[in-house]
Symmetry: C2
Amino acid sequence: MKTDSGVAPGTATLRGKAAAAPQTGRQRLMAAALQLAATTRSLASLGLREVARQAGLNPNTFYRHFKNFDDLGLAVIEELAGELRQGLRERRRRPLGDALRLDAAKDPLELMRRAEGIIQESVALVLEFVTEHQQAYVVGIRELHGTSPVLRGALRKVFDELATDMAEDMLEIVPPQFVDAQAVHGIAAVVIREMAFYSLDYLEQPARRDQIRTEAQRFILMLLWGGMAMRMPQVLAARAR
Amino acid sequence: MKTDSGVAPGTATLRGKAAAAPQTGRQRLMAAALQLAATTRSLASLGLREVARQAGLNPNTFYRHFKNFDDLGLAVIEELAGELRQGLRERRRRPLGDALRLDAAKDPLELMRRAEGIIQESVALVLEFVTEHQQAYVVGIRELHGTSPVLRGALRKVFDELATDMAEDMLEIVPPQFVDAQAVHGIAAVVIREMAFYSLDYLEQPARRDQIRTEAQRFILMLLWGGMAMRMPQVLAARAR
DNA sequence: CGGCAAAGTAGACGAGTGTCTACGACGATG
DNA sequence: CATCGTCGTAGACACTCGTCTACTTTGCCG
């Protein structure tokens, strides 16, 4: 009856499993739920026994650690959100030194030209990060529009935090004279959402990856242009002198 | 046991139900599935018997009309997509007469000022339309990121068609000299996606509706600005003369 | 060593599910 | 009138599910 999914962990058998086996039962359950949600169905509609089976545990073990499925979902989201946020921040910081900081005195066209390069790197980094965390990303974007209000709220908060981070970084690159500081957060939020969307395509259609990558870059650049043009067309115009 | 959801339709009882009762069993099943998917869980994870119960039909009736749940989902999507596309086209056409067509000869700033008004109306119309088709919209955006590849593909096609329509209309308003014709489709696609996102908020948070509305307007305007600025910063600059 | 709480297991319960085969109603078409 | 395909119904099958109570294992702390 025991098929192939999980190995019985209880008594004495092997403890290091296939790929970086989580040790505590709680973590095993979370990992199993994430994997199932990424491949089979929505997180909230998973079966208690299904997850336990995937984790190689007794169904009742679930009750020891979680009471709801929302509870488990929240735990998974919380764990992954921290990792994702930290990872993105690390990577986003890396390529930008103080040397690259764009001077406010320079004209906007020069600014945009250099921003283009930075965006190129950023998009590459995000997409690279996404490929390393496929399951988390797929499930995240799924549940963002899912049925559980609890998970939706949690994920919305996560995405908002990511947007805040990105806005902060954007304001470091593009001086606030050129864009409405409040609008920057809006831009970042849209970029985050759209990047998540692009990421789905990116993961599912490996053949079109280059195309998707440049598409994403163009989109972000366009948003930045729009933000600047809306704020100060006269600056753009002034450059023509 | 029979609670309140559906009335037995079979033999002789009343035939006109509460609100615009669908007549054929197939339609009843589709309506029931839509309603359940909008309120309870994802379309693919619905129960066969659950839907039949909601429709007030025998579980086995499902088999007469659909074989899969993907099958039912496709039928629902197809029906609603037609209605939605047609409805949006009708409404989008209405407020734009030939009188409002923006002259290519005019300078971009004047063009954008008038585009702002048009966008204002368009956003209002879309949101109004959305409130009239809450269920369809919620389910649509849900399944766009859902688990069934079949439904995802179908919905992606629907969204793409909507984007094509919108791009077509945008090119009627904004002459192609000002924006890259290919980029317009991209802009439209993003607008459609983001509008769907805004719509969820719009439906769920009636208190913030005005805020969301203006936010959406700003976003679209910004995208348009970005598209123009990216294409021809020199045009914007030229206006300063 | 003794005890105790946390973690995991075992088995059983009623309820709900997908699917199958068989049967009744009904409107067309000949 | 007979017949046939469509639509809806009825009952049953094996299965999974969530939840409950009771038991065993494990590791920790004094």
